[in-house]
């Protein structure tokens, strides 16, 4: 490499985009090596620019981890606190229920409503069994599920005196309340299935199982002669 080539390389290094100065162009005409160098730099630059338009999707775990972090830092606000557009507000009570505090309060209200009922009756064994079958098929949390089943088995119609008594209004009310709790359990189970690592969703599910067991236990106690009623 002679002196001229070194100078050319310095010019190449220091220049910004644009044409080379005349002395450099003159050198290029006489130097094959520098011509090749300049052409190679151009080829590398052009190919690199193409790479700049590339988009590579990160693995989904990046978003899951990011979302958990956002929740932990409370950057994602409670659904009712974050203003939404009118169309998005239509997701209604379902989305509101997904928040633990609201869901807990809601279930508490359900229990309170149940406790005001004078007496409970007509818990058909078939209904209990259908609930058990549902839980057996879809529960992603076996430990909580087994605890729940133990609780529910204690409130079968065979073991609850007076359970066969009929009271249409109360029965309908109880069924509605049970349906709400069951729906909440279904939502929780869906969340756990979709986000197995979401500890919060698992806690809600455990809580929902517990609420249902307590509800059924309360129903059983109130149906007994001399119960709280």
């Amino acid at each position: 490499m002679n002196m001229q080539c070194e100078q050319f390389e310095q010019i190449l290094e220091q220049r910004d985009e644009g044409a080379l100065p005349k002395p450099a162009l003159a050198h290029l005409e006489t130097c094959e090596a520098c011509r090749a160098l300049s052409a190679d730099f151009g080829a590398i630059h052009d190919m690199a620019l193409e790479l700049g338009h590339d988009e590579i999707a990160p693995p989904e775990r990046v978003w899951i981890s990011l979302r958990n972090q956002l929740e932990a830092e409370r950057l994602i606000l409670e659904p009712q606190a974050a203003p939404r557009s009118a169309s998005r507000a239509s997701s209604g009570w379902w989305s509101v229920l997904q928040h633990p505090a609201v869901a807990g309060a809601f279930l508490g209200l359900v229990l309170a409503a149940a406790s005001t009922v004078g007496y409970l009756s007509n818990f058909a064994q078939t209904s209990v069994h259908s609930q058990l079958a549902f839980q057996q098929e879809s529960s992603p949390v076996p430990a909580a599920d087994s605890v729940f089943k133990e609780e529910v088995l204690t409130v079968g119609s065979d073991s609850i005196p007076g359970l066969q008594r009929q009271d249409t209004a109360v029965t309908a009310s109880i069924r509605r309340n049970m349906q709400i709790v069951d729906n909440f359990i279904a939502i929780c189970e869906k969340s756990v299935r979709e986000q197995p690592d979401n500890q919060m969703a698992r806690e809600y599910l455990y809580g929902a199982y517990q609420q249902k067991a307590e509800l059924l236990a309360t129903a059983m106690n109130r149906s007994m002669p001399g119960g709280l009623q």
Binding site: Q14, D40, L49, L70, S95
Partner: protein
């Protein structure tokens, strides 16, 4: 609510989220809306991840950096007032996250002082007198270039990715990397020289393989 209805609601919400414009997503994200955060992430994560991957050349680190970049973004999104394009803002933030992370690592072979010293004749690749020059134009493809970029020392790679891949100017790189414009130019030049060497080696290797394959098929 039965399971099918739950699914419908979920699908509807996803559709709404995916139809959200960037401006609406930014506004809602500033109010803490979860769907808006996800929308912004889905819109920009590919570009940010690609940037991180090219800057560090390691998928695990690139994932961490992508997460860090978006976390920083969402922490600061309340301050975004729309003076610049959102993507530019995010991009610059991602670059800063990557550079901050790399600064924390000990990289003796690529420290700015060492590799950008203009008096240091031993630093950086040099052209050899009489060395045969293979013309790269028309011979290299993006796969070879990507592999060569991965082999660059981190210091060279950062400047090359910022300038030639991402299109930053030297004065911007100097600001981002806290170095002089001259240093940025010097680093870029050395990166290109090293890339040229690596690509020429690749071409020679490919030529050898072809010759061997031709020999094998001829015998």
């Amino acid at each position: 609510m039965d399971a099918s209805r739950t699914g419908t609601v979920t699908r509807t919400r996803r559709t709404e989220t995916s139809e959200m414009t960037e401006a609406e997503a930014i506004r809602l994200a500033q109010q803490g809306d979860a769907g808006a955060f996800e929308r912004i992430y889905r819109l920009h994560s590919r570009r940010v991840y690609a940037l991180c991957l090219r800057m560090v050349g390691n998928t695990a680190e690139a994932e961490d950096l992508t997460q860090d970049a978006f976390l920083q973004l969402f922490r600061k999104i309340g301050t975004f007032r729309g003076e610049s394009a959102f993507s530019t803002w995010l991009h610059r933030l991602a670059v800063n996250v990557v550079l901050m992370k790399l600064r924390k690592k000990t990289l003796p072979e690529t420290s700015l002082e060492e590799s950008t010293d203009p008096e240091d004749e031993s630093s950086g690749p040099r052209r050899e007198i009489g060395a045969p020059d293979l013309l790269l134009s028309g011979s290299i493809d993006r796969v070879h270039l990507e592999r060569a970029i991965e082999q660059l020392p981190p210091g060279y790679r950062q400047v090359f990715v910022l300038h030639d891949v991402q299109g930053y100017e030297h004065n911007e790189i100097a600001g981002l990397m806290d170095c002089s414009i001259g240093n940025s130019k010097s680093q870029l030049h050395k990166a290109r020289m090293r890339l040229r060497e690596l690509l020429q080696e690749t071409l020679r290797s490919l030529a050898r393989q072809e010759r061997q394959a031709a020999k094998g098929s001829g015998s």
